[in-house]
Subunit: 371 residues, 2 copies
């Protein structure tokens, strides 16, 4: 809603649009792993937790589903299809129990695809599956604010989006602050004050996110959240992502030294991303008056060694997600040169990627309490 102007409380860094070689649509195969690994959990959660009677699905004939942070596809279509199939299966089971037949309930699905206003929704629409079995709608705006009317959604899904926090904590890019993140473009985990600032922002964001969703979900509605995180003894700088961001940061330093942009511009840049540890997740996703925590599981994503066997492909994946934010900060001519430098340096430092630690994925299922 405009009264809660997304730009006022949340930075917008859309994934690369279009469907070219540098598009997010063609470079989101790593994120796909997270969607696949969550498939079974979604199916089980719907089988166990979806209460067809209390949701009055038999009389309303409508099932409304939202994917938050959908980008431009195609992962969002797989996720949506998973959920629809699981709801269909549950409905058939319900019919066979109550009506002694295995008909579906004739539910009509309405799917809301959400992402920032700047997301390339045109590409999303044009890449819809040929036979999509639902009514589709795109909802522009930050999910760190309200997106839907009260009690209007039965199922919320968000995959790999909540790692993007709503903004970079101000203090980490303030050279006068003790939390200044000197010499780094991300929350590597090595500087405690930086980590605290990011962690606080993440927690506040999740709280804001859950407050909004609590209003939008119907009582008994379900929410599946998938986000990447860190095993307890791992810092982000020890992972593939962290090592890649270190190289990117080093390339940016080189470019600043060559005078392609000012050192101040570099100092004022950090990535608004956070990868929480399990204990943080447990703290931030509470049982409260709105939600019951039904499941929280951790899984491993695709092995980084598989991902980085092709540096160009990995660089394209990074670029598809970061080009927008880097272009906004340094100018649109920078990302091309930056990722050239990245590929070169990554190849030179290939050995350092032999020892990277794996990220984990949190798969979380929440149920909106009836109230």
């Amino acid at each position: 809603m405009g009264t809660e102007d997304p730009t006022a409380f949340s930075e917008s860094h859309p994934m690369n649009g279009g469907d070219g070689v540098l598009s997010y649509a063609r470079n989101s195969w790593a994120q796909r792993g997270a969607v696949d690994s969550a498939k079974q959990m979604i199916q089980q959660a719907i089988a166990d937790l979806l209460d067809i009677e209390k949701l009055k699905l038999e009389s309303s004939h409508k099932f409304q589903l939202a994917d938050l942070g959908c980008a431009t596809g195609t992962n969002t279509f797989f996720a949506v299809q998973n959920i629809i199939e699981a709801v269909d299966a549950k409905c058939k089971l319900y019919s066979s129990k109550h009506w002694n037949n295995s008909q579906s309930l004739g539910l009509e699905y309405q799917i809301f695809f959400n992402d920032h206003v700047g997301n390339d929704f045109n590409t999303l629409f044009r890449s819809f599956p040929v036979l999509w079995q639902y009514f589709a709608a795109a909802v522009p705006g930050s999910f760190y604010g309200r997106l839907f009317p009260k009690r209007s959604i039965h199922f919320m899904h968000s995959s790999n989006a909540l790692n993007w926090i709503s903004r970079v904590p101000k203090e980490v890019v303030d050279i006068n602050s003790p939390a200044w993140n000197e010499g780094s473009i991300y929350c590597s985990g090595t500087a405690n004050k930086v980590l605290d600032a990011y962690s606080t922002q993440f927690k506040n964001d999740i709280e804001t996110f859950l407050d909004a969703r609590a209003q939008e979900l119907v009582g008994g509605g379900l929410m599946m959240l998938i986000l990447a995180g860190l095993p307890d003894d791992v810092l982000l700088c020890q992972t593939l992502i962290g090592k890649s961001y270190d190289i990117l940061g080093s390339c940016l330093v080189d470019m600043a030294n060559k005078g392609m942009f000012s050192k101040e511009r570099l100092d004022s840049f950090n990535l608004p991303q956070y990868y929480p540890h399990l204990d943080e997740m447990k703290e931030v996703i509470p049982n409260n008056k709105y939600f019951s925590l039904e499941r929280i599981e951790t899984t491993f994503g695709p092995s980084p060694r598989d991902i980085t066997s092709n540096i160009e492909m990995w660089a394209s994946l990074l670029r598809s997600g970061l080009e927008g934010i880097i272009g906004d900060q340094f100018g649109n001519e920078i990302p091309g040169k930056l990722f050239e430098c990245y590929s070169k340096k990554h190849a030179e430092n290939r050995f350092s990627f032999d020892e990277v630690k794996d990220l984990i994925a949190f798969n979380i299922v929440l149920k909106r309490k009836y109230s």
Copy 2:
């Protein structure tokens, strides 16, 4: 819905995207006149016909509104604002009667902006009013098919969109048919068989449109349709639009003669637009088991003489609406040259525009029966 693939039953010719000098967003001022003239009718219809109790607005707190054929703005925002203000006013009146205060009912508005999959929704989203007081969603697809779940919309609005029929009748571009529209690119009204073919297509389309809307509107929901039409004794070729299309057609003949595309390609081209007479409208918008016809009024739009005082501006307006369909048929290099030719020929034939007849606008209000 994909199962009713829009391309299977409806051609898609989106208005020009973006916000450049040739964009629809900057060239839709003539259509704006229709929106303004309907403003008062919308307000009155909502005041008289919206039944807050039967719609259960007090308990649901939601009001769902769709604009069908929204293009890229900004007219759609004005129309939506009109409707919201009228519903708000009605709610306040209701409160003051029932609760002796003039509070609003705290309704949350959800607005669905619909147009073809190929519409430039990115531009639409980026041109949202700064303070938009509603939850916005874009719905891609042809309105000659289902767009929303059953009984999910309280108010439907469509302005200047239903003149685009779902397809050109096949026979008018078939040189072996008696209804072949020889030497013309549109339904000028002079050839009876052509007129019949277009009129039949229009009536079928409106029927399809109404069938879909009957399912999607809640009982008691309202629909406001605005479309351009012809006074009883006027043919389209006597209007500004018709004379402009004659010039466009003549330019296309010139270009075919120069070998810029084949004569066959020209022969297979007609515009999928229809401008009905009042008696046709009355026939096609019936009182039936789904809808009651509450209002049908005709108004005049802005005077053509005002519009064509600036030929370049008028040519830009035409181009913003037709560039897509002409590019699809003849190639993307054609529209630029075509509208150059257009401006020149229009200037040479300026005198013939002194005698154009006015179009009228139909403003129609339908109410979905309770069932």
